[in-house]
């Protein structure tokens, strides 16, 4: 791809992101006129107390969570697809999101059993508790994976171990559910649907910083990732310490997944689909392009889904997991069909 085309696509993506960010702030279940929004945003107009609260405490945090969760999940998916050289790898494949689910299930169901509806009655402290439980579950799985990665010789073994952890955590979660009260199950199901609105304004800076660190690290790994595409043996012959890089990639992808799952629940699909869209859009395997491309595409997909989840006329907002697949899956199918056609024309 020529540099000129590269710049144009990136500019278009940037423009799309800016427009979608504005749309996400303008659009919501309560109608606020654009002039008022501008007054509130740029002139910190204090005369619209209610509207100002909605924008600063709800819409902007939600928009930022969508932006950084979309970017982080897309990059985590790309990292894992490259590491395993498998187009079906995504952030859930290593069992990290299942670990997070198990953490949340343990908290909700055990507290429900021994302390009544403690968590659901605690409001934002309850939410923080859920985030911490998700984080603990995800980090536990991540540590186990790191330990396992130093013991197995083949990357495929590691993939199988990750999938087995996912099954294991899933079945324990299933058992816990089976013995739980209805109200706790409801809370768990809602968490499992994913949401961009679970992060309070006060916590946004931590979330944004944590994801940004992961994204910056991943850009620095571009060269190593390009080498991993050739397979471990070629990568090693070109000077890459593949054992070290394997562990770094898992740590990085796991870290991004853990942080996002803790704050937004197990969000499916973005991590799997976005790298494919980015590769097809830019027709390259160079990670120096693919990482920013995945970040941009991930942000756009997440923002579009967040908009659709809050379509006017819908009470509250739709579960984000339903929307991501509903919008994303037909798009990926279309991209794949188009790719197939252009390939057969070339060869």
């Amino acid at each position: 791809m020529s540099n000129k085309r590269l710049v144009i696509i990136f500019l278009l993506i940037g423009l799309g992101i800016v427009l979608l960010m504005m749309a996400n702030i303008l659009w919501g279940s309560v109608l606020i006129e654009p002039q008022k929004v501008i007054q509130i945003l740029f002139f910190s107009d204090k005369s619209f107390v209610g509207e100002s609260l909605i924008i600063w405490d709800y819409r902007i945090p939600q928009m930022l969570v969508a932006v950084f969760a979309g970017a982080g999940l897309a990059v985590a998916g790309l990292l894992l697809q490259t590491l395993f050289r498998n187009p079906l790898a995504d952030p859930s494949i290593l069992g990290i999101s299942s670990g997070a689910s198990l953490g949340v299930a343990l908290l909700l169901f055990l507290s429900g059993r021994y302390a009544g509806s403690l968590i659901s009655s605690l409001g934002w402290i309850g939410n923080l508790g859920i985030s911490l439980a998700a984080m603990a579950g995800a980090v536990a799985v991540l540590f186990f994976l790191m330990a396992a990665s130093s013991r197995v010789n083949h990357i495929v073994s590691l993939l199988i171990i990750g999938i087995m952890i996912a099954y294991l955590a899933g079945s324990i979660t299933g058992l816990l559910r089976f013995y739980s009260r209805k109200e706790d199950i409801q809370a768990f199901v809602i968490w499992g649907m994913g949401t961009f609105s679970g992060v309070s304004r006060a916590q946004i800076p931590y979330f944004v910083t944590a994801i940004s660190i992961g994204l910056i690290f991943s850009v620095f790994m571009s060269k190593s990732l390009n080498l991993l595409l050739l397979g471990e043996r070629y990568a090693e012959n070109l000077g890459l310490n593949t054992h070290l890089i394997t562990r770094l990639v898992i740590l990085l992808a796991g870290y991004l997944t853990a942080v996002i799952t803790a704050y937004a629940g197990p969000i499916a699909f973005i991590g799997l689909a976005v790298p494919h869209i980015a590769r097809n859009l830019f027709k390259t395997s160079n990670h120096l392009v693919l990482i920013p491309a995945s970040i941009g595409t991930g942000i756009i997909l997440a923002l579009v889904c967040n908009l659709i989840a809050r379509l006017p006329g819908i009470e509250g907002s739709l579960p984000i997991n339903a929307v991501t697949s509903l919008i994303g899956a037909p798009f990926v199918i279309a991209v794949m069909l188009r790719q197939h056609r252009s390939n057969s024309l070339v060869s």
Partner: protein
Amino acid sequence: MTEMLKLHQLEIGYKAQGKHKEVVVLTPPIEAVVNKGEMVALSGPNGAGKSTLFRTIAGMQPALNGRIEIAGKALKSLNLHQLSKLLSIVFTDRISEAYLTVFDLVATGRYPYINQWMKMNQADKRIITESMEMAGIEHFASRLFRSLSDGEKQKVLIAKALAQDTPLILFDEPAAFLDYPSKLNLLKLLKKLCADTQKTILLSSHDLDMILKHVDTLWLMAPNLPLISGTPKQMIENKTIDRYFGLAYEG
């Protein structure tokens, strides 16, 4: 003559898994040298340890005993990065990445020389172009690697090894997926590289027919026999080949 690759009292093999961790040594200690600009073919029956020897020389598997020297430096004293500038290796591994172009793949040969941001200078670009020309693939630089035939892919990987600009190149079964004319072309190309650029090439193959006709120096390995070096002519006349391939009693 400069010694490019020197194997001294080298024992290769692996530590068996399981309770006893016994060490499996594949051959008696190896004593062999490849000089600069030479092309040597390594052959032997399956299970003789050809691949293990290659992995050991490439630093991907530790030697059990003895010493390997590449361009006069002990392999043990080199880190992966230093080694990547002395030795390149062409494997039989398949690369199936969808959007990898021929140019980008050959360019990975320059990775040991460039920084994190992969910015290449004029010299790097010139080496890539020259490598593609030497391998005869400059006309499909912008094509996708995946769309090439096996013979073309093999040439691209040779160009990648050339771009890596190492004095020593190892080829693991370079002719494995090729038809007869392509094999012949490949061997001619490798011979020409040795002559024109003073590269040192060690290739493994069990295509005896091919290497007996086209290679000057032959190394033979077989289970429990010492690695032996000589010209194809000698090896045929003194029946070494029959002995190493277990054909002695057949006639």
